[in-house]
Amino acid sequence: MRPEDRKQELIDIPMTVDVPYRFAAGKYMTKFLVELRDNGKFYGIRCPVCKRVQMPPRIVCAACHVKNTEWVELGPEGTLVGFTIMYLPLTDPTTGKPHEPPFSYGSVRLDGSDSVLDHFLNIEPEVEKIKVGMRVKAVLRSPEQRVGDLSDILYFDPIPHQ
């Protein structure tokens, strides 16, 4: 408050804005979500010019401004390229419930992909146990529980050294 502030009842008006949406996934995201849901597979798409494989698949390669053309199956194994241990009870806006902290959270480059995916890591939330560069594998919900959302991935499991 500024110094000149005086004692006065200051009125506030709480208000909840609740806007409903029905989002269409569109042609490219639909393929990704349906393959994940029905077949447990990850699909990216390759740019015909720079050959970059992008996930999620999308209509245009932003770097080349051309239409992406070639579907590529990716993963399910990948490499951890960044991580954090989350101590904040971040709310899942689609359920209204928080993800219970602390939890390990990371950025994974699926094999065959030039993109990364942020998701939960099934690793104890201790810094020493997580390393950039470690190999991980996606663990999915059982087929009947999958809905076509990234939450169909439960988390990434570390792959023990072979």
């Binding site: 408050m1 500024r2 502030d5 200051l10 506030d12 208000m15 804005v17 949406y21 989002f23 996934a25 995201m29 990704f32 979500l33 992008q54 996930m55 999620p56 999308r58 932003a62 770097a63 390229v81 960044g82 991580f83 954090t84 241990i85 989350m86 101590y87 904040l88 971040l90 709310t91 899942d92 806006p93 689609t94 359920t95 993800h99 959270y105 990371g106 950025s107 993109s115 990364v116 942020d118 998701h119 939960f120 810094v127 950039v132 959302d149 990234l150 939450s151």
Partner: protein
């Protein structure tokens, strides 16, 4: 640019976590009055009003329309632009274009955010694609946390370097009467603050602030007629980044990055070889400590992997050779829609010599500012005291 454009006045609110004494219209009006007073100008003299904030952050659609009494836009031409966190600088950019076009001589630019009124969590998670990651969005803190782990792994920096950035920002803020977080803290305090997302602690992140910034831009003739100390906007460059590839957090990436691309373009435009020699002060948009060190490198203030050395060697302190964020920066004050404009206005104050207690103790002829927002977007602005500089 067809006409030279100068900042001939500006102002800001006292930024704070709570401003229960004003509504949004009144808060914006504080900054507008302050800018008009600084420029010794009446609202009637303003030709057009441009305003921006984080759209829908406060749960209000078409805020420009609501705020007309406070912004002074009633009966005037004007518009609202939004580009996320960069918007304050985008508005300046739009203002520069308005003046340079020759259609307007005096343009009022406004950026604001009354963060306490909005639902930060809900709106920030809305940045994620609704069908790809919104259900588990790690928010900004998760993103910068990964940048931190990447930075430490790649360059051997330690958490203490982040703490040094945190301390510099808040100690500088103590010298800035408008700043929000004026904290007399030590490196130990920063290292002991609550962990949010490893390695980001409470003091490593920007706060949620309420505040507004307004600036008046003018053409060369008006500037010279009406202003004793105009600050010239010499170049601006915008680089947005694609939706899903947020490579900035991987500090070793070889991909073209928004920050390096944009600064390279602006340096080329101005013929800058060594930015640390060319510019006397920097005001950058650092939502988190690690981003400040990465900015040092991406702006070419040092080589790759050397950012943490700059802070270690105190080179970027107010009295260092490369002062960065003498105002306290975004780590001390983050009223999102105003944050990027505040960088430009603070740089202008340094050039004018009007920064008060946080004025850098050397001659300031040129300054560089950055913005940050969206999915790794920036607007970089170069300012000078003289058109000959």
């Amino acid at each position: 640019m067809k006409r030279n454009v100068a900042i001939i006045g500006g102002g800001q609110t006292y930024h704070a976590a709570r401003r229960h004494d004003v509504n949004q219209v009144e808060m914006v009006n504080e900054a507008v009055r302050s800018a008009l007073e600084d420029a010794k100008m009446a609202i009637d003299e303003i030709d057009t009003v441009l305003i921006g904030n984080m759209e829908f952050f406060e749960g209000t659609h078409l805020t420009d329309c609501w705020l007309v009494d406070g912004s002074g836009a009633y009966g005037k031409p004007g518009l609202k632009i939004t580009t996320g966190g960069t918007v304050g600088a985008t508005i300046v950019c739009g203002g520069v274009h308005h003046v340079a076009s020759g259609l307007f001589d005096k343009v009022l630019c406004i950026g604001f955010e009354k963060q306490e009124e909005g639902d930060t969590g809900a709106i920030l998670s809305g940045v994620a694609h609704p069908l790809y990651g919104r259900s588990m969005a790690g928010a900004a803190v998760g993103y910068f946390a990964m940048m931190g782990t990447s930075y430490m792994a790649a360059w051997g920096a330690k958490e203490v370097h982040s703490a040094m950035v945190a301390v510099k920002a808040r100690q500088n803020a103590r010298k800035n009467k408008y700043a929000h977080l004026k904290l007399d803290i030590t490196v130990e305090d920063a290292l002991n603050s609550r962990m949010l997302a490893y390695p980001i602690r409470m003091l490593d992140m920007c706060p949620a602030s309420n505040g507004a910034c307004a600036m008046i831009l003018a053409d060369e003739k008006t500037a010279k007629d009406r202003c004793a100390n105009p600050v010239w906007i010499r170049a601006m460059d915008t680089a947005h980044n694609e939706q899903f590839e947020l490579d900035w957090r991987d500090v070793t990436t070889k991909k073209p990055i928004f920050s390096r691309t944009s600064s390279a373009r602006i340096y080329k435009q101005l013929g800058v070889n060594k930015p640390v020699d060319y510019f006397d002060v920097f005001e950058i948009y650092e939502p988190a400590t690690w981003a400040e060190m990465v900015w040092y490198e991406d702006l070419g203030l040092c080589g790759p992997g050397e950012g943490f050395r700059l802070i270690e060697e105190k080179r970027t302190e107010i009295d260092g050779s490369i002062p960065v964020n003498p105002s306290g920066g975004v780590l001390s004050t983050n009223c999102i829609g105003a944050s990027a404009m505040l960088r430009v206005w603070e740089a202008a104050l340094q050039i004018r010599g009007d920064a008060g207690d946080h004025q850098v103790p050397k001659e300031v002829r040129r300054a560089l500012t950055t913005a940050y927002g969206g999915t790794n977007w920036t607007v970089i602005t170069a300012l000078s005291r003289s058109l000959d500089d």
